[in-house]
């Protein structure tokens, strides 16, 4: 499940690992044959730290209990290897000491049938296979750059289209029903979210000097970034609750009071963001709070996923009501399903469901790349998608007159009584 929430940060993981240190890449002929001691102090520090942890583990772990030959636990200079049965190839993730080592790749070590670790034929020393760690780095770097620029372009386009939509919503004074008010707030939270994401991507991610200096401002930026992420998803939840109340619960649909929606959308996300800031400062106070290797991120992502799940159930319920209402009005089946599907598809980007339905990143490299591209498009172009569907494509909605708005309000009010149900035109 960690990969799920970190899909958003895959790019940032790659960039913080690879791009900032590119200018200081360590050069050596074959990392797998040369001795493992290096001069660079930061890298050495990490390695010494891993060495300490390894020997502690070797000291404290119970002795090997299974029968048969096995290779003894060992420290190979970079990674710790446990007792392994003879004849088995064991693997673990590559270390992150060097800029061109990709920690998502696997390093392996073979324990041969005689219970000794594999020795490299050239040097006759025990040898672990780190070749995969830096063999695809240049392609991955290229792809990381593509994804990075895609993200920036996506957020910029989202901001532009959302601002245009907001301008349209504010300009046409007749568009002042409550649903549109919620849309305005949702769009505004999308705009702020995109702005903070762009600020983070441009100012912090490619700037290792800033990260090293670790000023308070970059932690404050990260705090607001988490807050806006929460706002984004909680406003989507507000839209879901509003629609659910309107369609499923309301029979005599009076005007709802929006104060609670404002509280949930703008006020409540402060709670997980603050708790995350406090926990991060206390327990995992890394530079600029950039690391995604911590479970403390779930303090923000947990409520976001809970909000998405609740939204998902509201959506299912709304679709169920829509479909049953269709059936009651005796329309042709194909028409019915088409309309239901259209309603669902319009609601999906609104409610951010894609994060619930597509959680797992495939292990296969090509499939993983395709997954990354799709996820990045869905994440960073979401604002553009929402603005397009709710403003630009929904022509009658955005240029509606008072009459149209009255028709919209009337329809949703009497959805249970009118024979021809056209509530989805208002979406």
């Amino acid at each position: 499940m960690k990969k799920t929430t970190q899909c958003c940060f895959l790019l940032i993981i790659l960039l913080t690992r690879i791009v900032p240190s590119l200018s200081s890449a360590v050069n050596y002929t074959d990392p797998t044959l040369e001795p493992v001691v290096t001069e660079n102090s930061v890298i050495r520090q990490k390695i010494i730290d891993s060495q300490f942890k390894c020997y502690e583990r070797m000291n404290r772990a119970p002795p090997y209990k299974k029968k048969g030959l096995f290779c003894n636990r060992t420290w190979d200079g970079w990674l710790c290897w446990d007792d392994t049965p003879a004849g088995r190839l064991t693997a673990q993730n590559c270390p992150d000491y060097f800029p061109d080592f990709d920690p998502t790749e696997r390093a392996s070590k073979y324990c041969d049938e005689t219970g000794n670790w594999f020795r490299h034929p050239e040097s006759n020393r025990t040898w672990s296979n780190y070749t995969l760690c830096n063999s695809f780095t240049s392609e991955k770097l290229k792809m990381a750059f593509i994804l990075y620029y895609m993200a920036i372009v996506g957020h910029a386009l989202s901001i532009t289209s959302l601002l245009i939509s907001l301008a349209i919503f504010f300009y046409f004074k007749s568009l002042s029903c409550q649903r549109i008010t919620l849309h305005k707030n949702l769009f505004f939270s999308y705009v702020l979210n995109s702005m903070f994401t762009i600020a983070h991507l441009i100012a912090v991610v490619p700037n290792p000097g800033l990260v090293k200096r670790d000023p308070v401002s970059c932690k404050v930026l990260q705090f607001f970034h988490q807050y806006m992420l929460g706002c984004n998803y909680f406003w989507m939840l507000c839209e879901g609750i509003y629609l659910h109340t309107l369609i499923v619960v309301a029979v005599f649909a009076e005007e709802q009071r929006l104060h609670w929606y404002y509280l949930l959308g703008w006020g409540f996300p402060l709670v997980p963001a603050s708790i995350h800031a406090v926990a991060r400062a206390r327990y995992f106070n890394d530079n600029c709070w950039m690391s995604v290797d911590t479970h403390l991120l779930y303090i923000v992502h947990g409520p976001v996923m809970a909000a998405l799940l609740v939204n998902f159930f509201f959506l299912l319920n709304i679709v169920r009501v829509l479909v049953t209402k269709l059936r009651d009005t005796h329309r042709a089946e194909s028409n019915m399903y088409m309309k239901a599907v259209r309603a669902t598809l319009i609601l999906v980007p609104l409610l951010g469901i894609q994060f619930v339905i597509i959680p797992w990143r495939p292990e296969n490299r090509l499939a993983g790349e395709i997954y990354d591209y799709i996820m990045h498009i869905l994440m960073h172009y979401q604002g553009l998608l929402v603005a397009t569907i709710f403003c630009f494509f929904n022509g009658e909605n955005c240029s509606s007159s008072v009459q149209q708005q009255q028709f919209c309000t009337d329809n949703t009010r009497s959805l249970l009584t009118r024979p021809h149900f056209q509530a989805w035109d208002c979406f």
């Binding site: 060495q51 300490f52 327990y283 479970h295 303090i299």
Partner: protein, 160 residues
């Protein structure tokens, strides 16, 4: 970057003047033990115990037993111990690390770091007892808040 293993005949180039004596090991003495062609494990084991361990013990006693678990205090000494074993391996034409190094360090850890937390110096998550409440609480509050908003929006409709 320490260069690769030297050929046996070139072992004599490791004289005192060319090696930085970071830890004060009388490196000239090491010349007496330079192996001819292969790694003499017994010699290596003896050397690291004789030279590296002595220096390490001296430093650790200087730091004081109370601070042995303080990684910030001991990291320098630990690093020097590692360097020392690596350099002697270089001189004896052994590859580093090896089985003897493993045994050596396990013994060092058993003696000096037995009572320390095994996590080292890197940042790590708090224990589960602290982490879980931090995560579960916002989720529960979220669900409560959602229920509250749904309930309040129902009530304002006049629907009970």
């Amino acid at each position: 970057m320490i260069p690769g293993r030297s050929a046996s005949g070139a072992a004599t180039r490791w004289c005192c003047g060319t090696q930085p004596a970071l830890w004060g090991i009388p490196c000239c003495l090491a010349q007496h033990f330079i192996a001819a062609t292969a790694c003499q494990e017994a010699d290596y084991g003896a050397m690291i115990r004789h030279y590296c361990l002595k220096e390490f013990q001296h430093s650790m006693e200087g730091i004081g037993q109370r601070l042995w678990c303080d990684w910030d205090e001991t990291v320098g000494t630990y690093g020097e111990l590692t360097n020392c074993t690596a350099l002697i391996a270089e001189k004896l034409d052994c590859y580093w690390p090896n089985r003897l190094v493993d045994e050596f360090f396990v013994a060092v850890h058993r003696q000096y770091f037995r009572n320390c937390s095994p996590s080292g110096r890197a940042l790590h998550d708090p224990p589960n007892g602290v982490l879980c409440p931090f995560i579960v609480l916002p989720v529960l509050v979220t669900l409560l808040m959602t229920a509250l908003v749904v309930w309040r929006s129902k009530r304002s409709e006049g629907i009970v």
